[in-house]
């Protein structure tokens, strides 16, 4: 379970690293930004989940 979670996080970090690379090369710009939008929104789902998990796991 922990290994699976680690793999999941690593894939997310890889995608964000690719976003930084593609932006630096200019492949992502104001004309074409769909991957940035999709990966960004999906990454922020982690925030949403952990906002609820943190008090449920550690405080209650």
């Amino acid at each position: 379970m922990t290994g699976l979670h680690g793999l999941h996080v690593a894939i997310g970090m890889g995608l964000i690293a690719w976003l930084i690379y593609a932006t630096a090369k200019g492949n992502l710009n104001s004309e074409y930004y769909t991957p940035m939008e999709m990966i960004g929104v999906f990454w922020h789902l982690v925030d949403l989940i952990w906002i609820y998990l943190f008090p449920l796991f550690y405080l209650i």
Binding site: V41, I51, Y52, P55, L59
Partner: protein, 138 residues
């Protein structure tokens, strides 16, 4: 999504600051005991934080309002389902008192444990056995 909105860095920093502050509030409030309201308060603060994340980080504030409507509606239905489920588990036995007994009283698990009712009081083992046998004949 059709509109191309760029959030200023100042907004992101303000949002991050608010989120850190509300995290501190969540931790601080957990040191007080409000009984069954503990979870309500913790989840209330968490919902405030989640709204900020969805509105600013996920850009729902500047997005097509259809998306916001769908997001809020799905959360409302999730809330309804969880509330009704909690009404069942939270108040089970509130009208007709109930006694807990094993589904299968031959299970090895029960050899090591004294039988208790829902309040943790010991239960007479013979009456519990009787219940179990009745169930077996059906």
């Amino acid at each position: 999504m059709s509109e191309h909105h760029i959030t200023p860095l100042k907004t992101y920093l303000a949002v991050a600051g608010t989120l850190f502050f509300l995290t501190a509030v969540t931790v601080w409030v957990s040191y007080f005991d409000f009984g069954s309201f503990n979870i309500v308060i913790a989840m209330g603060v968490a919902t405030m934080k989640a709204s900020i994340v969805a509105l600013f980080f996920m850009h729902l504030l500047w997005d097509d309002k259809k998306n916001l409507t769908m997001f809020v509606m799905s959360l409302m239905f999730l809330g309804i389902f969880i509330t009704v489920t909690l009404l069942d588990t939270g108040f089970r036995g509130g009208v007709n008192s109930e006694v807990e007994y094993p589904i299968n009283n031959r299970a090895a698990f029960y050899d090591s444990l004294p039988l208790t009712d829902t309040h943790g009081h010991p239960v007479d083992e013979h009456s519990a056995d009787h219940h179990g046998e009745d169930e077996d004949h059906h």
